[in-house]
């Protein structure tokens, strides 16, 4: 079970959208450039005045993965070993998200496979984006 999430002012739109089963990513409207994790300013133009949240298609591909056998987070230790994959979004492959790839056995990850976003509850009920392999 993932730790719960306590949204803060900065990331609240991302977590609120997740609770509505929507994936939003921070976007600089001036540069037309997505960035994740969100930051106080655009990584390109360094301005914080043009940042907005943009809804994504929820489609992506598995870029790479590792298998975690020794996890520092207490609530996840009973689940070891587990996959932690890097998903690149179809909307912009430069945007990466981590995933446990629910339904995919540890170390049987089809790199390059198409994935779709799902939303999973964490320990305090906050939903978080996860990704499932499209079969």
């Amino acid at each position: 079970m993932k730790q719960g999430v306590i949204p803060d002012q900065f990331t609240a739109p991302f977590w609120s959208a997740a609770n509505e089963s929507k994936l939003v990513i921070q976007n600089c409207s001036k540069c037309d450039r997505l960035q994740h994790p969100p930051a106080q300013e655009c990584g390109q133009c360094k301005s914080g005045t043009n940042l907005e949240w943009k809804e994504m298609s929820g489609k992506g591909r598995i870029y790479n993965y590792g298998v975690v056998h020794d996890c520092p987070i207490r609530l996840l230790q009973d689940d070891q070993p587990f996959n932690v994959a890097v998903v690149m979004l179809d909307d912009d492959p430069g945007i990466q998200m981590y995933s446990h790839l629910p339904g995919t056995p540890a170390d049987e990850v089809p790199v390059g496979a198409e994935v779709r976003v799902v939303f999973e509850e964490t320990a305090n009920g906050q939903k978080v984006p996860e990704w499932k392999v499209v079969t």
Binding site: V67, P72, V84, V111, A123
Partner: protein
């Protein structure tokens, strides 16, 4: 004394800026170390503060000068290996009473300030310039070299110390909580340990170049061997155990494809170096080791973790900056002491350097050749973090000692020690120093 972090202008981050203006005019002379320990036993005399003082005094003595001749300090204020003093645990009273305190009770226990050092080293009577450098000795060395070169101070002590507390590292704090803040959760919710990002890059590397994890074995064996000849190091002092191929290849995974021995062991230790002008160094006790250049990588990955493409591009850029500022080429390197803690960083660094002519994808094949200190292609003669524990400074000590001819059992013999390079940690985000036995 008010001490601030070194400004960005002190780092050489750009390509195309030419040879370093102080090339060969700054020298390292003294080296000082504390002992090592796996974790702090909470005695005053083994605290990170006490061991920092010991390392500084050893560096002064090694250089053969008096403390009043030192006029500058460059230190790393962060000392944690990943262990933080628990909020609900009282600080040991005997430690507090053993030292002159600043207004921060953790000073000298789980962090370090210039103010604390000066209060507890009254012999440093002439310090009139100080700077902080973030996180690593590699960074502090770059800053100290620039400080001396710019004439901001003439004789500078550089210090990095580490504390490691009881309990497994990174297992406390927010990782033990039932819920975490939204910003942290963006990265940490999936439970990836520290070596995960590097393991990912290594996985991609193996896929791209048709390599495998077992091909790292000679590098691991070589690193431990060299580390066991490092009397200042953890494994030599506490667990003088050589590694076998099987030890490495059958070790448990931490984040596959990174296993236990791809990770460095967190320890307590401190080290200090004495930097001065090349002119003053001539009269000191040890042979001067001249600094030909320092270089900085300040690249930021676009995503959560660097891709292999980003890593290779940045390592290549770092290599070019290193050579350009030093006025040398890869062929001039006698040895390399690039970062290794995690082991899977090392091949990226030496491929970026083009060490011994290798290119991207070649390092693991290179590891299958003679990379020992007796051969003509020594790899990590220090043994690095893998050989002596997590300090991120063995590589610098070894580079200085190799060029002074006092590396003891680790002294490279297959090639004359004339120019070496050390630094790290990350391919994206590191600091590098080029050392030379001669100023030109």
């Amino acid at each position: 004394m008010t001490t601030r972090y070194a400004p960005p202008s002190m780092y050489r981050s750009r390509e195309g800026v030419g040879v370093w203006e102080h090339r060969g005019k700054v020298a390292a002379v003294g080296v000082g170390h504390s002992p090592t320990e796996r974790r702090w036993d909470e005695r005053p005399e083994t605290s990170v503060g006490a061991w920092s003082i010991m390392a500084l005094r050893n560096a002064i003595a090694d250089a053969g000068i008096t403390p009043d001749q030192v006029d500058g300090l460059v230190i790393v204020p962060e000392t944690t290996t990943g262990a933080f003093w628990p909020e609900d645990k009282a600080l040991p009273q005997d430690v507090i009473e053993a030292f002159v305190q600043t207004n921060d009770p953790l000073d000298g226990i789980a962090k370090l300030s210039v103010d604390w050092l000066l209060k507890n080293m009254p012999e440093l009577t002439n310090i009139n310039y100080s700077l902080y450098a973030p996180v690593c000795m590699s960074n502090a060395l770059n800053v100290a070299a620039q400080v001396v070169g710019d004439g901001l101070a003439h004789t500078v002590l550089v210090l990095k110390a580490w504390h490691n507390l009881q309990g497994r590292y990174y297992q406390g704090g927010q990782n033990a909580q039932d819920a975490i803040g939204g910003t942290s959760a963006m990265r940490s919710l999936w439970g990836a340990p520290a070596c995960y990002g590097t393991a990912l890059q290594f996985a991609e590397y193996c896929h791209k170049y048709n390599k495998n994890h077992d091909m790292m074995t000679p590098f691991i064996i070589n690193s431990r061997r060299n580390g066991l000849m490092f009397p200042e190091g953890y494994w030599a002092q506490h667990r003088p155990e050589e590694l076998t191929d099987e030890d490495y290849q059958l070790a448990r995974w931490i984040a596959k494809p990174a296993n236990l021995f791809d990770n460095d062991i967190p320890i307590m230790c401190a080290a200090s170096y004495l930097f001065t002008t090349a002119e003053r160094a001539k009269d000191m006790k040890q042979k001067p080791v001249y600094i030909l250049n320092h270089a900085d990588s300040d690249a930021v990955p676009r995503g959560l973790t660097p891709t292999l493409d980003e890593v290779e591009a940045e390592c290549a850029l770092t290599g070019r900056k290193i050579y350009e500022g030093a006025g040398i080429t890869a062929a001039d390197l006698s040895f390399e002491n690039m970062y290794d803690g995690f082991t899977q960083f090392h091949q990226f660094h030496i491929e970026g350097l083009g060490y011994r002519g290798i290119g991207f994808g070649d390092a693991l094949d290179f590891y299958q050749t003679d990379i020992s200190i007796e051969g003509s292609n020594p790899v990590s003669p220090s043994g690095g973090n893998i050989g002596s524990g997590r300090s991120r400074f063995w590589m610098h000590t070894d580079s200085i000692q190799q060029l002074q001819g006092r590396a003891g059992g680790r002294q490279i013999t297959g090639v004359d020690a004339e120019i070496g390079v050390s630094g790290g940690p990350m391919p994206l985000g590191g600091n590098y120093t080029v050392w030379s036995a001669t100023p030109d």
